[in-house]
Subunit: 328 residues, 2 copies
């Protein structure tokens, strides 16, 4: 089996590659070739070194898609994207990578299929950014995509293309609408959503964290481990059960900042919670107010996708996967 | 005022141009330039001959969009499309015209705006083909676009682009999701939806018409006159009232074939109805079964868009606009 991971150097991409390295037949049969591609050179896990090609690519380049598909991978994970803030700041770059790069990939698969029958499984990382406020309290399964960012627009367009190419049998696509990933490992970043992770990750490492919004802010979460699980399940599931609506809102946990904090208290105690410093930021509060907070994800759940159901779980997964299983 | 009509030789395009010719200041100020473009040379109304340029263009050509926008039209009606059946049969052509041609137009407007501030009103002809079965009994205002044709996919993508370009202030866009137009003038064609018009238009002209589905088939209609009215209203309305959700399901009449026939009987008598010959066609019945039949269009109605509320009205409009006001 040949597996291609585009966006292999990103946070989820790296974890996905680790999972692929963890068991040789995790996708049903042995991985004989693994192609890892990203804008920066992706790391190759030792156990897969002999079968892996690590490529540094620019999805906006016309040749990239052909280069990635000429090896006719059986499973393609497409996680690469210009992120939300950058796609908003740089209109051309966002469209070139997130729309044209994705479409070029789909077209390259189609060209391969005209040469010789070819219908790979394509798993595409979409986002709840395809939805735009105002929202109902719980966003239903058939709620429309009216994004309020260029990033969300590009993801929504890629979803439509994925569904049409799949309907025509050009590949076997599954769109995975990811919740906000929490706890994001690494260091605090400037993303408006960063605080959701910061207020857990930093106190767990005995550092102070800043909370710019009020405790009653509600949002939609899943752990990095769940995100990897979504992609693995999408790669191995029976896609005949999905039907033509190929893009799925993944399950997640709807929780408030206050619930996050109480989970932190239960797992790591009052001292950890005392490291959260409240510093209200109206700008961030305003941005976050336009985000969705709760979804009906029953369709994905019926299809076997699973996420956490409590923040205690999300925190424990962070401790297991990032902190060696224990608090410092 | 400079007005551009792309798709000016099509059925709605021609009627729209007639309406523009009917009154010099129908869009609020006098039309000083009118550019008509289509794949076949559009007809120029006599009264506008001195101010009109009629262009034969291929939207799939890279230069077309630049050529159309370099005159900086104030109002752009974009009605051109490769139709549903052809876009399904010719994948590349459908995407080249309906997606790339539309995007090239939007980009050409953006380029003009970088040269010198420019923010035209852009009215885009979308379609209820952005929706795909299964449907609720009445399709709500926030129902998702999961098209089951490449044509519907291309229209849904263009809607997303229109909303994003409008949100960024690159132009002032309104997407008009048209109902099935009835009564279509002309001769019976092979479109699967043709019979909805044929069973009225042909008996009204004393010809036989074939009805391939049962009387209880329900669908969503507006007259050609209403369609033109939608475009005119979108060109003149206060778009600040629309908000970021720029694509509007137009009002229409939800009616069954049986209701069509009874309206025909009321307007033209039993003799007309007797010219409808029932010839069930399971293939057409199957296609039509996947089409939407009823919408909540209250948002568009609140914004001032209007359509017929009875089939009697739709038939009378056909008699007025196509048959000189009386039955033969």
């Amino acid at each position: 089996m040949h597996v291609l991971v585009i966006g292999a150097a990103g946070m989820i991409g790296r974890k996905l590659v680790e999972r692929l390295a963890g068991s040789p037949s995790v996708l049903g049969s042995d991985i004989e070739h693994l192609t890892l591609a990203d804008a920066i050179t992706p790391a190759v896990p030792e156990v897969l070194q002999s079968v892996t090609a690590a490529l540094t690519v620019d999805l906006a380049d016309a040749d990239t898609a052909t280069r990635l598909t000429e090896g006719r991978p059986d499973v393609i994970f497409h996680l690469a994207a210009v992120v939300s803030g950058e796609a908003e700041a740089d209109f051309d770059k966002g469209y070139a990578v997130n729309l044209d790069g994705t479409r070029a990939l789909f077209e390259a698969i189609r060209r391969e299929g005209r040469r010789e029958p070819y219908r790979p499984r394509v798993i595409f990382a979409s986002s709840i950014a395809v939805f735009g406020a105002p929202f109902p309290e719980i966003i239903g399964q058939d709620f429309f995509a009216t994004p309020l960012t260029s990033y969300g627009t590009q993801k929504a367009i890629a979803e439509l293309l994925l569904a049409d190419y799949s309907r025509r049998g050009l590949f076997d696509g599954v769109g995975i609408r990811l919740p906000t990933i929490c706890v994001r490992p690494g260091t605090p970043n400037k993303a408006a959503s960063g605080f959701f992770s910061n207020i857990l990750r930093e106190p767990l490492a005995s550092n102070e964290a800043i909370l710019p919004v009020s405790d009653d802010v509600r949002h939609w979460f899943a752990s990095p481990r769940s995100a990897v699980g979504f992609f693995m399940h999408a790669a191995t599931m029976d896609t005949s059960l999905i039907g033509p609506r190929r893009n799925l809102t993944m399950p997640g946990l709807s929780a408030t900042v206050g619930e996050e904090i109480e989970a932190l208290r239960r797992v790591a105690g009052d001292r950890a919670v005392s490291l959260i410093r409240r510093a209200p930021d109206p700008l961030i509060a305003g941005i976050v107010a336009g985000w969705p907070s709760n979804f009906d994800a029953s369709r994905a759940m019926k299809l076997g996708f699973r996420a956490e159901t409590t923040f205690d779980e999300i925190i424990r997964i962070h401790i297991e996967d990032e902190l060696g299983g224990r608090l410092p």
